[in-house]
Symmetry: C2
Subunit: 411 residues, 2 copies
């Protein structure tokens, strides 16, 4: 029974999973207001200039800049006022040299004018005359036609994850619907004879389902479409039917719950029966979380998660999360995980043969972040409730000394 597991490195696990899938990503068209955090499946190109005309960026007077040369508070110049450009209306009249037109922020620049004097630098002497106490240079206080984005310009690229400011920009160029990759579809199946639904009262020997709730919630947080499939007892035919059905309809099937050798063996039997030699890894170099199973059947990724709550969450964050990102179509150029650099509060000893994740609580003391390891068995979910981050010790690392600055992945 020794060497039950041949441990696979995390990067190999991810590489093997991805290289065994060959699924074309599906797309859908959605309203921009529903597109937050979705991944663009096409480049978005502007079919017009933004702004569509040159606009004033201030309230003031449209002028010829050369007419203001030399103007100062002590030696102001005076210009005749030739009307006003109203908001939302076309500036139809050309500005004559030696004249000024009243203009509001955002209004259209009249033909001829090359700059705007701010209202703060003016004084209306009469209905017909304005005093100007500061010279303006050419192009001052104007945003030019197409300066934000030109017709034909790429606003956003394929693979971009849509943020609030992007939605504003899409609206600005008149794009009200976008094509995005469909959400990654995740089925979560609970297994294990001892597992019962949280709404039930456990008899002695039974335990409420924790992992499928935490794992489903992590997947929801990542923007997946998640189906909780309920609890399947350790019965080969039932599990086989359930897994086979879910493989049809989902991109990822997560088997969560029981962590005994019996449950694991059953999972392996079922996967091998659905497709021979479909087990790609059985055991991963991560701590906690060693007994993790990887399989790909019909381009669907199947991961058997370990049963201990903390192990299950560590494997989700260390392995499933990067796989979901890779499967989502996102080209992660400008999105970073939420990480905090904190001072480690005590020495920790790591298993150098595995990538070990410590649960830590990051707190702020006198403007400094402190990472306090939360110790406890990986079977305890409350260790993760007390924690707000994970600290990774890579392969080959034997430990970290107190007061070292460490990078914590927040969750």
């Amino acid at each position: 029974m020794k060497n039950l597991f041949k441990l696979m490195k995390i990067e190999d696990f991810i590489e093997v999973a991805m290289s065994n899938m060959n699924k074309k990503l599906e797309t859908e068209e959605i309203d921009i207001i529903d597109s937050l955090n979705r991944i663009l499946s096409e480049n978005v190109i502007s079919d017009g200039d933004l702004p569509p005309f040159s606009r004033s960026t201030v309230d003031g007077y449209a002028v010829y800049s050369k007419d203001t040369y030399g103007a100062s508070e002590t030696l102001p110049i005076f210009l005749d006022i030739d009307g006003e450009i109203r908001m939302g209306e076309e500036a139809t009249k050309k500005l004559k040299e030696g004249y000024a037109m009243k203009i509001a922020t955002g209004a259209m620049i009249p033909e001829g004018s090359d700059s705007i004097v701010m209202v703060e630098d003016t004084e209306m002497i009469s209905e017909k005359t304005v005093e100007i106490s500061r010279a303006v240079y050419e192009k001052e206080n104007i945003v030019f036609k197409g300066e934000d984005i030109l017709k034909g310009g790429v606003l956003l690229n394929i693979g971009h994850k849509i943020r609030p400011q992007d939605i504003g920009a899409l609206a600005g160029i008149g794009v009200t619907k976008v094509n995005v990759f469909k959400k990654v579809k995740v089925a979560v199946i609970s297994t294990g004879d001892e597992i019962i639904d949280p709404s039930e009262t456990p008899k002695l020997g039974q335990i409420r389902d924790i992992n499928s709730y935490s794992v489903s919630s992590f997947a929801l947080e990542l923007g997946c479409e998640v189906k909780m499939c309920g609890i399947i007892k350790d019965n080969k035919d039932m599990l086989l039917n359930e897994v086979r059905n879910r493989i049809e309809d989902f991109d990822i099937v997560l088997l969560s719950g029981g962590s005994s050798v019996g449950t694991r063996d059953l999972t392996i039997q079922v996967l091998e029966q659905i497709q021979k030699d479909s087990i790609l890894a059985h055991g991963i170099a991560i701590k906690p979380g060693k007994p993790t199973i990887l399989s790909v059947i019909n381009d669907t990724l199947i991961i058997g998660l370990p049963g201990h709550p903390a192990s299950s969450i560590v494997v989700f964050n260390g392995v499933v999360k990067p796989l979901i990102k890779l499967m989502s179509g996102e080209l992660a150029e400008i999105n970073y995980d939420n990480k905090i650099v904190a001072k480690l509060s005590r020495n920790i000893v790591s298993d150098k043969g595995r990538e070990q994740y410590f649960r830590v609580l990051v707190t702020k003391e006198n403007d400094e972040f402190i990472a306090v390891p939360i110790l406890g068995k990986s079977s305890l979910i409350t260790t993760l409730v007390k924690a707000n981050g994970l600290l990774k010790c890579g392969l080959g690392v034997e430990g970290i000394v107190k007061n070292t600055d460490v990078e914590v992945i927040m969750f």
Copy 2:
């Protein structure tokens, strides 16, 4: 026309807003699977022990630890096997001294046994006898009844923002519904004669609505319930009716869009007409974003946002976001904003009279983060599309020198 604005500091703005509201937060009961990122409105107390019985954390044999003393690979000991404890079943039979019972991970510990020998340290000699090659100490490989959480213990506190692992823990103690504070309700009203709906084609002088889309999306991202109320032209009666109606039903009314003095003046007139002296601030010491209006009427917060797209987003992130957090019921103990420390790529000069926000693009080069300021007028939305963070220069700061490590608020 000089000194149009008396500028209020950001912290004063937030303090004045909060001290003029006295709204009791409403609550609702929801399913835990819908509770991600919601704020608990009550402490969650466990009404039972978790786990409800002592369990094995490994596959192996339940024993009396004293029966294994001295066992080693070279000098194993042998115990008689007295049956097996099956998953999900009560361990009804007491373990007799000198015997071992087969047990799976997660199964119930039989009475008498005080430790579990891992299967890796055993060899089944026959149906009746197991060889044990390593001694176990008392309590080894057992998670005890109530060790995760004791009956009556507080699992989560009021004001806690629910994370995926919390949902797992709630399921674990049989809590399938929780009471949370209702989402902060935000109405976004677009104003300005020049603003048209993004689906329309602008005539000369008109511009598509950008800000209400970006601002609504930021509010959605923060977990608010958001209503986009459409575009109201600069007509006093129409704006007055719209604002008055929204004050009834929403916690926050954001006025977004037009940035001309005319639109601003109209907003102020309307708010003063709904309730005299309700304008609490008019101008804020933030750059960009100075022309921001604050009002509270009937415990509803009303904020007139500046019209330039970048200003609008800076004010949302600098002022509205902290106000939403304060109004949400969240007690922010263990949640931090996503910030990255990066090296500034060039010198920047700041307005020391205002809290200035620079748009920056953070990139990773050779494991080091670099913050590149994105320069451009605050009227350009694409400067924010190119950026992925904001860099704050506080009041009194004149600038930051190239290569300084700066903290960037990511978005």
